[in-house]
Point group: C2
């Protein structure tokens, strides 16, 4: 379903080049539940941004659902993202002047869904993450964990094929974090492909496969034999 | 050193009132290491904002170092914050167009420290969190965990009396998170009063006392007898 071949990503800062990804190759099948771990700065979010079609590699190729996304135009990439991918960003990236409900409804607006259905589906998505009573709050009126849950609801509202979640429980207490992981698990059992960046072992345990990053490379790729 | 008496904080959203803190009383001595835990939305960050002199309670009193801060003017509050308190925000709150070095140096600028000394101390603070080689990057050129570490360096650069850290390891891998907690521990042994909001047991273990919040109230306040 997702295939990366020898992917490189560099950033230029002043005169120095930061090699964020230094030759990453991996294949992930539809319906897998993968966790991504590794030290701060090792390339995890960069990897997620590239497979999430938010950016392009400097070299190497990325294929999603049989389509070579590393070559697409910005418009085509945006369309793939909207149809197939749900992204929970490490720093949420919510619209500051927009209510929780409207933040969640945004992917549906881009997908051309009509107003009535947008409201119904956004309400459902908020309820699933326990925030039905915060629908009209804007981000500044929400706690850190509530903002994170709005970002999660937004990532799921358009029933994507693949969920990319970058530290999705970083701002959540343990009990709420487990509720979220059980939600991901239920959606995975129903067919959603899930990739989660996390540094917490209890979160990684929900996955059946672990990719470990270090210095822009995947240093280990292990299947969890227990489950 | 820090004393809260029957502190209340409400937020008005449209026509409803959210009781973020519903009568919080606690006394924390100089040199304590306290962790704050509790469900998402239970009032932890609101508590931290009030004791950090970033906001005022609706009722009740807060005393810091013998001074009644709940009555101070905005200017006096700002001065207390700058002199005595280092704050690591749940979402970092870095200046987007400013380099890591200048973000860290900001409290020194407010304290009237001259340019040469600001650069020296900001460099040291960045080195202590392992980011000496990222001094010229702006936040968008840093990973999530690197941004969090810039926020930590900034909180410590002016040698505060009290450190308030809201989920300071939320974006950090386990090894880096432990380095940061050991840094806090060393500073605590040298006299720094530390209050850390966290949902991770391994982080809370560094503290000698745990406050648990639920629905705007402290429901338990226990000393860790083991250490
Ligand atoms: N500026 C605000 N306006 C309205 N409501 C607010 C505001 N800030 C916080 N709240 C509400 O007050 C409650 C407590 O928020 P707070 O940020 O203190 O929670 P928290 O314990 O830090 O949560 P988390 O663990 O998710 O960060 C939440 O229900 C939140 O929706
Ligand atoms: N836009 C950018 N410009 C310059 N350098 C960047 C940029 N984005 C990331 N980097 C650098 O690339 C490296 C990898 O960053 P990335 O965000 O992928 O790390 P990460 O594994 O997600 O880290 P964390 O666990 O701290 O979130 C880091 O060293 C970072 O400084
Ligand atoms: Mg990251
Ligand atoms: Mg909070």
């Amino acid at each position: 379903f997702l295939r990366c071949h020898d992917v490189h990503k560099d950033y230029l800062v002043g005169t120095e080049t930061v090699r964020a990804l230094d030759g990453v190759s991996v294949a992930i099948d539809r319906g897998e539940f993968v966790s991504v771990m590794g030290p701060s700065g090792s390339g995890k979010s960069t990897f997620m941004n590239l497979v999430g079609c938010l950016d392009r590699p400097n070299s190497g190729s990325i294929e999603l659902d049989g389509e070579r996304v590393s070559d697409l135009t910005s418009d085509s990439l945006a369309s793939v993202r909207n149809q197939k991918i749900g992204f929970v960003f490490q720093q949420f990236n919510l619209l500051g002047r927009t209510s929780a409900l409207d933040n969640v409804a945004l992917p549906l607006l881009y997908a051309g869904v009509d107003r009535g259905e947008r409201t119904t589906r956004a309400d459902e998505a908020l309820a699933r993450v326990g925030l039905a009573d915060r629908a009209q709050h804007v981000p500044a009126q929400l706690s850190g964990g509530q903002q994170q849950r709005v970002a999660i609801a937004r990532a799921l509202v358009n029933s994507p094929d693949m969920l990319l979640a970058d530290e999705p429980t970083g701002a959540l207490d343990t009990a709420t974090g487990q509720e979220i992981m059980r939600l991901f698990q239920a959606l995975n059992e129903a067919g959603l492909t899930v990739i989660v960046v996390t540094h917490e072992a209890e979160v990684a345990d929900y996955a059946r496969r672990i990719l470990r990053f270090r210095d822009g490379l995947i240093t280990s790729d292990t299947l969890d034999e227990v489950r």
